[in-house]
Symmetry: C2
Amino acid sequence: MNAQEEVIDFVINGHKDYLPHVSIDSVIFGYHHQQLKILLLKWIGHSGWGLPGGFIKSREPLTEAAYRILKERTRLSDLFLQQFHVFGDSPYRVRERSQAEFREKFGPITSEDNWLFQRTLSIGYFALVDYSKVDITTDFFTDDFYWCDVNEVPFLLFDQNEVVEMALKMLRLAIYHQPIGYNLLPEKFTIPEIHSLYQTILGKELDQRNFSKKLLTLGLIKKLDERRNIGPHRSPYLYQFDKANYEEALNQGIVHTY
Amino acid sequence: MNAQEEVIDFVINGHKDYLPHVSIDSVIFGYHHQQLKILLLKWIGHSGWGLPGGFIKSREPLTEAAYRILKERTRLSDLFLQQFHVFGDSPYRVRERSQAEFREKFGPITSEDNWLFQRTLSIGYFALVDYSKVDITTDFFTDDFYWCDVNEVPFLLFDQNEVVEMALKMLRLAIYHQPIGYNLLPEKFTIPEIHSLYQTILGKELDQRNFSKKLLTLGLIKKLDERRNIGPHRSPYLYQFDKANYEEALNQGIVHTY
DNA sequence: TTTCTATTCTGTAATATTTACGCAATTATT
DNA sequence: AATAATTGCGTAAATATTACAGAATAGAAA
């Protein structure tokens, strides 16, 4: 959405095409070079950084909306995406602060009761992507973005710091119950790779021998006959997720520690 | 809400006081006589049974709304209540079926585009109560209720069977991570009581020796010097939750099996 | 008072899982 | 051929989980 008329139409008539009072906020975790980052956007009309998000079309299934919003932003369609919480406990704070700044930019086209200023519940989703493969799109409403280390998140819009915190908590919980990694690693990966992925997400060290033993025992990954050359003195074996066991684990949930 | 004018005002003008497009649906689990049941209501204008639920006031915090709705229905205010999922993937099915039946009852006061017929996302909460202590209120919209065994849930309105299934799944997951029971048992309880509570919720047998050993080892409960007389040949010791450890477990989450 | 019965209470051994830990093998480089 | 960096593998100890049964208690009945 970039053309001026399109934007104005969205602001003025968006409530006809989208559900008002509800938005989707995504915490997009990016993993790259053993760092865990989240995508932040600079929303126009706001001084600080905020999470990517969007609205649900009037007759669009919720899950579809979440994927669409993510795809519009990252160009990725196959990724791990999971709803984790609805935030709606600060109805006063949420939109009031934004209104003044926003109207300053848009001026006359926005009335006080514009749908974008109404109280909005936020449905939180978290996603996992390899951020080197992502092609971030900005638009009229977002003029900048950056990947922010999860340990250095600045003050965010609205109540979004709470959203990020909870997303991280849920991600760390999910990693114990679901075989996360499928969407964060190349199809074939090495033990050191998946090992440091898990360490990064959990933010703690895991014994690499016990770790790989566990994944192999659970049958989540299987060793291939190939190895990869990735530099001096390094030719680790490649592994692959075991599709069948992986799917089963996704449904059943895994109960385990590392 | 029972007076005729009140109801009509709610139907016609409710969209001004409540957030349209979003509702709260509660799966209220009742535990009594070693059975796990859920509360179902007969909504007027619908032929089948449905979950209790309601709408969020325009400036009411979400959590507060969930508690209010529950309190209006059960008269209970201190209970275990937890959000577990937002349902919004069947935008077509959700309200269309209801509309015809509903309008048949209400007739002329409802127009096609009445806010109650619009697409509505449903935020799912589950609660735990002792149903013998609950005083269920029906109102203009609900002319009957019953406590339904979780294993015999009939076909419900909209997509609510999915809601119930997921609630049960989440409850069973929660029981592994959170010291559930605080709100389902009297302050002082016996081992057999809490033992059968857990068995009922999980739907499987748990070795009673290992079970109590576990709860005591985790420090969640502590033995009192009192016993209770509950009938012939029965004077079990009483136990109590250990507040401090309990709170910590609520925050940290427990990882364990029984 | 004694006996009987229903219920509560408790302990230990076998098994499985998790943790801790270090060195040998491999491969590219020199 | 020697070296250095990295990967790969095994075992023992500690901990947690499971399986399992009989003794003790309290009230009821004789």
